[in-house]
Every structure is written in structure tokens, then in C-alpha cells.
Symmetry: C2
Subunit: 301 residues, 2 copies
């Protein structure tokens, strides 16, 4: 049996909501918080515990922070009405946003000054796995932070990569994974449209490439969206200017040239500038199709 | 039982030699030809049939051409002492080099004028699978060309993708696969060195990424070469300026911008200019390491 904790999830987006539900299902007393009141209400209706964040904060043993980026993470933890100073000594914060390693280290130090534990805990796996409690965590932090977070990790994860004994390593690994994932999506888009210029249908492209050395996890996952002409956002174009921007910022700070990542980033920025930001990230293929005068499946001719 | 043919393999490099051995093992009467006499002698010693190419050509039912590029293919088939005009009507040529679709169509037309069948038949899988008769073919050509080539394909392949009824489609699909494969190798090199700047070891990189959305077939195949510091060329750096150059030439001719492919091509061109052309293609990581002042596994510090 997993130990039952008093927890809160801050940020009830597609990932956070699923994680909050997974914590509930595991028997944790769980609050859900968000800037949108209707999401809070919906979560309470499904079994979440009511209460204002600042009222319940002193009782929380673990806080899972699942917001968009570093700015939102800092605001939630240390901004006006930030939760970190309200927590009791010994509580743990699991910070799941994709941020720079430097930022994660700064958060860990500021939490330590309050006698709070901080786990650098970015996630991978998508909304469906969040709801199933089968995420992957790329985590780093002190052994105490891991121990305090363990019941939460057990409820949310299929795999926990333990990457080091201080914050930063988890975020560095997440940035590395995002770098590859983003490049592979854009490369798939470049290749599927290149193939179209040579008379190869998107369908044939996937059927052959998935069995050859040119395949990737992202290609097999995203190419079907293009074949079906379905750009319902499982993960949106707008994720990539943000995440690849974090990667190139980290690279620049380290004096590291990342030309392929920079080029993929530019393609996602083009996609966003064409008004595709809220579509599924496979819509980066529309940038290529537009440039080459191709008609993708499902598009009006 | 596979029908036994009288065949010849032209080009006894690492791929061609393995393919010639696979044809022998299947019971085909097989000649091997190469610009290097010692390779011919070695193949005869292992069971190949002796004879000068121009003497045996009228008797050949199938010719497998496994040379480096379009220039060599044209020279072997139609140059001085070229084999195509010496073949008997109804013979089939399987052309395996990576070439442009336009070139493949031109070869098919010139063969048709001689009443010879041409199968556009680029291959994927590497030298080991060539020797095991387990290659993948990305093939296109007339139904007669396929029928005549079938006993050879049966002896050499695990999978034959039949991509269309005329030459060009096979080469287009091969170019598409090479585009992705080359980009994924360079992206792996960019990511594994980026991770090193953040304190993540190449070992940890592979252990985590292979289980995450950032993985690719090429990443899992090539990253171990970097981890082991072993650049024995399974496939050399020099392949990629050639193959990605073919891709960008095709793209340019089609008015298609391929910025990620262009960027990966530039990284392989840098690797070649650093004198790494004959090393395994994973050595493109050395371009990144050199730029960032990193020491890869197995390098002297």
C-alpha cells in the first residue's frame, strides 16, 4: 500500500488534471487549484477536497506544481500569495514544468531556506498517461526530497529516472528530450512533404518509413495526424517555440551551438506566426506544404 | 523453392559482397565483379563463378548493380564496356545505388530501348543484413521487371516495398528515408553533446532517452558508438554529404525548401572537412564536441 498523503496539484491543465485524478484514485487527500474556477469546481465534484490554498497550505505534505513555464512556477511558489512560504517545514514541492536547470537550482535553494524540499521533476508522457498514473519523471533532488515525494511519484508514474542528488539534472534531461522530440516532429514534417513532392503519399510514407532506419517515436506518433488531416491538439504547436526556446537559451549560456534545434525552432515559430499555434504540433507540416504549394490530406484544394 | 538464375553482382563493396554471398547460398549461379581484382578472386574462392563480364553478359538473367552513386551506375551500365548493351533481351537489372528519381527514370528508358527490364531497387539494412539475405528493398518498376527480379529479391530481402509501376518511386522513397536517417544521426549528436554541457553523461543520455519520446531508430543504433568511443565505420561520415546532397538536389529541383536537412548536411560536411570522412557517421558528434570544448568518451584529454 502506498502511504496516503495530504496533497495539492496546482495547475489543472490537461496534464495537471489527469495527475490530480490519479492522486485521488490512489487514495491521497487531494486539492486541485487553477486560475480557472470552473476547473477547481469540476475537480471537487469528482472527489477533490475543497478549501482555499492559503488556508490548507500549512497541512499539505506534497505540492505538485504543473504550470506552463518558469515564470508561472515562480509566481505560484514565491509570488503574491505564493504557496511556498505558507507550507510547513518538511513539505515537498514537485515542480513539473519544463524550465532551465539554473532556474530549478534557484528554486531548490529558495525552498531550502524555508526548510522545504524541492524535487526537480519534469514529466513526459502526455495527458492520457497523466490520467492513468503512468507518466515518466526525469527527477533530481536530495534523497529526502525523493523520500518525501515517493508516495506521489508512485501514484503518478510508470518510470522515475533518478538523475542526481540536486535540482538541475532533471530539467537538463527534460530539455534534452524536448530538443530531440521537437526536432523529430519538424523532421517528420519536412520528410513527409518532401516525399509528397516526389509523388509518395503520406500513407505510403508512414507504412514504409516506420519499418526502416528513418523512423522515430515522434514520426510514428504524429505522422498519422497528418494522414488523417486531424489537428486536434494532443500537444500544440505553441509548446515548441517555448520548449525549444528554453533549449537554445540553455545552449547559448553554455556556449554550445545547436544549429539543427535552431532550425526546427524557426519552423515552429513560422507555424505559430501562420496562426497555427493552437493546433496539434503536426501542423508544422503546413509550413512546408504552404511553401511548396502542396495540399495536405483533409485540406480544401 | 526459389528459381535458380544466372546472375552477376557488380560492385563487391561491403553491401555488394554480402549480397553476392546471399545469392550463392540460395543456389543462383553467381558472378562477382569489381574494379578491385582481389575482391573478384576472393568471391570465386568462396564459390563464385569465374568469367569475364563481357563474355558472360549474354547469358545473364539478372544483374545486381551495387555501386556508390549515379555516375558509377551509368558507367557500369552504359559507359565504355558497359554491361547493358551486352545483355540479352529480357534480362533484368536491379539498380541498388541511392540516386535521384530522375536518373532512375532515365536508366529505365535507356534499358527499355534495349529490351532490358530495369528495377529501381535501392536497399536499406547494412552489410550484416546484406550477408544474411535480409535487406529491405524500396522498389519500383514494371510488373515484368518485378517478376524477372523476384528470385533475386527472394534471396536478398526480408521486405520488398513495391512502390509503383515505373522507376523513380523507389529512389524517391530511399531519398526520404536517408533524409530522416541523416537528420536523426546529426540530431542525436547535437543532443548527446548538449546533454554533456549540462553534466549528463552519454550513458545516462541513452538509458533515459531510449525510453522516452525523443528516441529514434538511429539514436539507439549510433549513440552506443559514441558511448564506447568506437568509430569503426559501420556506415561512414562520407555517406552523408553524398546522400543528403542527393536529397537537397531533388528538393531544390522540386522547389522545396528542406532547412533541417540542409543544416544536418552542413554538420556532416564539417565532419568530413575535419578529416573524419572515413570514420563511423556517429563521429559527427566530434564536430559538436570540438566546437563546445567537450571531451567525448575514448578521446585523449
Amino acid at each position: 500500500m502506498t502511504q496516503s498523503l495530504h496533497t495539492a496539484v496546482i495547475g489543472l491543465g490537461s496534464m495537471g488534471y489527469g495527475m490530480a485524478k490519479s492522486l485521488l484514485r490512489s487514495g491521497h487527500l487531494t486539492h486541485g487549484f487553477d486560475v480557472t474556477q470552473s476547473k477547481i469546481d469540476r475537480f471537487i465534484a469528482e472527489g477533490g477536497t475543497p478549501g482555499r490554498l492559503l488556508d490548507v497550505a500549512p497541512n499539505l505534505q506534497a505540492v505538485v506544481c504543473v504550470v506552463l513555464n518558469a515564470d508561472q512556477t515562480e509566481s505560484v511558489l514565491f509570488g503574491k500569495d505564493g504557496v511556498a512560504p505558507q507550507l510547513s517545514s518538511g513539505a515537498v514541492i514537485l515542480s513539473c514544468a519544463t524550465v532551465s536547470p539554473d532556474f530549478a537550482q534557484e528554486m531548490e535553494a529558495r525552498c531550502a531556506a524555508l526548510n522545504i524540499h524541492y524535487l526537480d521533476a519534469p514529466i513526459s508522457g502526455g495527458a492520457v498517461k497523466a490520467g492513468q498514473g503512468e507518466l515518466s519523471f526525469m527527477a533530481s533532488g536530495s534523497s529526502t526530497a525523493f523520500a518525501k515525494a515517493r508516495p506521489v511519484l508512485d501514484s503518478l508514474s510508470k518510470t522515475v529516472f533518478e538523475l542526481g542528488d540536486s535540482a538541475g539534472a532533471g530539467s537538463a534531461m527534460k530539455a534534452t528530450n524536448q530538443m530531440l522530440a521537437g526536432v523529430h516532429i519538424a523532421a517528420m514534417a519536412e520528410a513527409i512533404t518532401f516525399a509528397m513532392t516526389q509523388g509518395i503519399s503520406p500513407d505510403t510514407f508512414l507504412n514504409v518509413i516506420r519499418k526502416c532506419a528513418g523512423t522515430s517515436w515522434m514520426l510514428e506518433n504524429r505522422a498519422p495526424h497528418i494522414i488523417n488531416g486531424d489537428y486536434t491538439p494532443h500537444s500544440s504547436v505553441n509548446i515548441w517555440p517555448k520548449d525549444l526556446g528554453i533549449v537554445t537559451d540553455i545552449a547559448t549560456a553554455a556556449g554550445f551551438a545547436a544549429p539543427i534545434t535552431q532550425t526546427a525552432l524557426a519552423q515552429f515559430q513560422s507555424a505559430a506566426s501562420f496562426g497555427l499555434g493552437l493546433e496539434d504540433d503536426a501542423a508544422v507540416a503546413k509550413v512546408y506544404a504552404h511553401q511548396a504549394g502542396l495540399t495536405l490530406p483533409g485540406e480544401d484544394t
